[in-house]
Symmetry: none
Subunit: 184 residues, 4 copies
Amino acid sequence: MRKETQTLIFHAAANLFAERGYDGVTVDEIAAKAGVSKGSIFYNFGSKEGMYESLLREGVTTLGEHTRQAAANLTGEEALRALTQTLLEHIRDYPTIAKVIATEMFHLGRDWREVMSPVRSESLAVFEGVISDATGNPNCQIQAMSTFGATLLAGLEWVVFEPDKSLAEVHEGVWSTIRAVLQP
Amino acid sequence: MRKETQTLIFHAAANLFAERGYDGVTVDEIAAKAGVSKGSIFYNFGSKEGMYESLLREGVTTLGEHTRQAAANLTGEEALRALTQTLLEHIRDYPTIAKVIATEMFHLGRDWREVMSPVRSESLAVFEGVISDATGNPNCQIQAMSTFGATLLAGLEWVVFEPDKSLAEVHEGVWSTIRAVLQP
Amino acid sequence: MRKETQTLIFHAAANLFAERGYDGVTVDEIAAKAGVSKGSIFYNFGSKEGMYESLLREGVTTLGEHTRQAAANLTGEEALRALTQTLLEHIRDYPTIAKVIATEMFHLGRDWREVMSPVRSESLAVFEGVISDATGNPNCQIQAMSTFGATLLAGLEWVVFEPDKSLAEVHEGVWSTIRAVLQP
Amino acid sequence: MRKETQTLIFHAAANLFAERGYDGVTVDEIAAKAGVSKGSIFYNFGSKEGMYESLLREGVTTLGEHTRQAAANLTGEEALRALTQTLLEHIRDYPTIAKVIATEMFHLGRDWREVMSPVRSESLAVFEGVISDATGNPNCQIQAMSTFGATLLAGLEWVVFEPDKSLAEVHEGVWSTIRAVLQP
DNA sequence: AATGAATGAGTATTCATTCAT
DNA sequence: CATGAATGAATACTCATTCAT
């Protein structure tokens, strides 16, 4: 029954954290929403931080896999379009995690650095790869981060303030902004 | 002596908040770092939230003024370059506030929406104005946010992880990414 | 397999309790050290207190039997020497239980009075018997407790802080301290 | 007002700890009995353990001072009688601390070793000094501990189970037990 | 006989806020 | 203006105990 309980807790926690952030949520609330006892949360995750970390790690891993798969076997414009589109899809499908990642990206709040660094290194590496490949410029961290930032903030703007826009519309807007990045 | 005390508190608080976020900092710590009594903080700012709000508001206002001034009397590429350059300068000069703003932008944690919305509406409005002016497209919120996001995250990456790069270098990177946004 | 499990638990528990006291040990720890499940402890002993009580009772009973046997058929100096020597041997062989008994003797912590009183009444009775017999003084509880205390603390000092000393040495030290107790 | 509050807490805590031991007492109870808020306890002592440690330290220090003063300028039988009498008086006047010391002496329960070691080294040193002086035997730790143990346990037996006996009576009992320790 | 996931009452601790001085 | 001792509501975490398997 362990697995079911963990899933129950996971979902409840993810939603609450996305709504109100780490410190805005109490363990009691999570327990109540998950329909389990408070003790069960500690039995299964050890601590509130442990649970949040699980959540982050899961989100980060999934994001990494998605983007890596998206760019696989593609190059140039095709690759970058796939990348940004996937990132936007991810933000739409897991807005919870996306917001949390945006918040923790420059490690404010508590110290999840250890968990977050894969996002920067891995996620950015994919962007960097595609860009340096197309431009012949191996030194393009700034461009990679710019591209990532353009997509991330546009995506969040979309899901938070303009959820009625379509993915295509948003992607078009992002793309028209950053398309020049590939030109040498 | 009112003014001096407030300044003392302001600086201490800004640094601590930038490092560890709102909930990661206690009023005792701020008092200790500022070298004033705890009571003094409440005497001067009313509450912890009040103080944070002051901080945010100040940061947001200053940022708005800088960017508005930067773009004044300019159009097209010149205007956008001035905008992004100014934003990067601002991040360099007030990294503290910049980090806090980035964190609160999509209002995780507590709800500073009321204080933050000016950043979005005002700051974005400037970008939107320049872009829609150049492209003739009045519907360019996504582009505005993308441009803003590209500059913001690149700027933070710069001050946090690659502080040795020069402003020119960073701006060049950002610009090469987003320059197409102005083409119709 | 009932008996083996109980023995496993018994040993693990005794060592842990001796090290860290009743409240310093969790049932999980005992289970882990014994290599059995937590449920098994409750299946076999009913409760944590029940287990501790078993432990105490066993220790107290064994000690009582040893000392009673040691003094049987002896009188005067011979009897008292046998008594103190046996007590020291007991402390050496069961330091665990000895420490626990010393701790609970004046019942701090929880209330094991009911379990502990036999130690006082029985153990002391043997000392009292020997002393009153030799001195003709029927009112010698204080002497009995002094003799007991002298031996007990010397024994603990021995096993805890000076384990290299020999039994003979220690006994000689104790005896030279208390030998006058038998003189009328 | 700091001092008064601390005194209030100190007294309440000492009594409760003596009655029910460290783990048997909650901070809420102490606060209630002292008539202060729970927060005040943490403001003044930092933690429950911190408070207990203060208590122990104070008790240990006082005991050390008393015994050292008692034996000052005396030698032989006079010195030892003064020592044991003072120890008994101390147990009578501060039964609380005496019980706690007896319990912690061989460091069961939590780890107050650091606080307790002075009792062993200092208190025992006084006994050792007097005994080795009288007997010419420099190697008399066992005798010192025996003497101390005889007095301590007799004293506790007295205050806990036979409080009607007089100090003189008890001291006579102890002395008749251990007087031989000074004979070479 | 044995297990271990789940429970919930109980507990220490934190911290923004107040207020008498 | 400024202080810091005092507060108490809020919160994370512990752990003996139960029970379905």
